[in-house]
Symmetry: C2
């Protein structure tokens, strides 16, 4: 398949890129500052330009979405807005604009995260953002068929435990290779409206 991968140069994006190319897919990479195509996914016009340049693809796969982490008392309305624009609206627009541009039976795979289900201190904006996306995926799926949309919702990556492990006390980590497998499952499988927890 021809696959457009957004956020290809990040920790997750790199693992997803490796898994998809190993499966023989033709992966077009996109990112803010590197990749085959440059895009600021917080700009709806940027997403339109991205699709125009990418041409017809069979799957859109997202591994991008910054969210601020702060104690609740310190999270300003603009912090919540930044998380919403950066991770929610950006991925919503990938789907909304992509429906008319990708293959007739193409798919979208978005990234959410464990904080939708399990909270951590300083994570209330991230929880909010991830919960929004998981409910959106279920809702969008029933309107875009036969196109499909799923989310991959990982916990902290094993490879990131040195940096972030202390924020997830007692919570199991997941290997990036297993998270990438969930993307393969979403892209090559036939399910829709699902939140895959690798």
């Amino acid at each position: 398949m021809k696959i457009l991968l957004i956020g290809a140069s990040g920790t997750l994006g790199t693992a997803v890129h490796r898994a998809l190319t190993a499966r023989g897919h033709d992966v077009l990479t996109a990112g803010r500052s590197s990749g085959d195509l440059r895009v600021d996914i917080t700009d709806p016009d940027g997403i339109a330009a991205l699709y125009a340049r990418a041409g017809r693809v069979d799957a859109v796969v997202s591994a991008a979405g910054p969210v601020p982490f702060k104690p609740l008392a310190d999270l300003t309305p603009d912090d919540f807005r930044a998380g919403f624009e950066g991770k929610v609206l950006s991925q919503v627009e990938l789907v909304r604009q992509g429906v008319s541009r990708i293959a007739e039976r193409g798919s979208f795979t978005l990234v959410t995260g464990v904080l939708a289900r399990e909270p951590i201190v300083t994570g209330s904006a991230a929880s909010l953002v991830n919960g929004a996306l998981e409910s959106f995926v279920r809702a969008a799926a029933i309107e875009i068929a036969p196109q499909r949309v799923n989310a991959v919702s990982p916990t902290v990556f094993t490879e990131d435990l040195d940096r972030y492990g202390d924020y997830f006390p007692g919570m199991p980590s997941v290997d990036l290779a297993d998270v990438a497998l969930a993307y393969v499952r979403s892209v090559e499988g036939a399910q829709t409206g699902q939140v895959f927890i690798p």
Copy 2:
């Protein structure tokens, strides 16, 4: 208890008002165009002014939050932003600003809805918004203890079936009196971080 009820004049707010006063509570009503206090909850400064005028309360109860309903293809970025500002950020700000202003063991009860779990056509912005709030409630709860925060997540009201029933085919409705009971449970009980499904 002294309770601040936002959205007191709406269909849901009226039922919640009735239930809380029947339980002997002193309910201060707030709304955009009626009630003891006027507030535009989409304006963070308006929420600050509301708390300043309300004085110390034991519970904050919200029954307000407009969201646009349209087919996914017609929902613009500004529609999603309107839902986010109208129902998510408004209720997040009620909590965030309220923490330093309500009673030491006070509580917040927000309103979400069934679309977080079950989608309907034209409901993808509403699903997104409700999912955001349900994950936020779980996250905020672990940071604000001993204060509490819960959500009430009703399906379509039995009293609204004439107007909205066709959007919820085959889905059971819930009587407003039972939804109001869930608010009582949140306010008078001791649970936190819960999504009550009446």
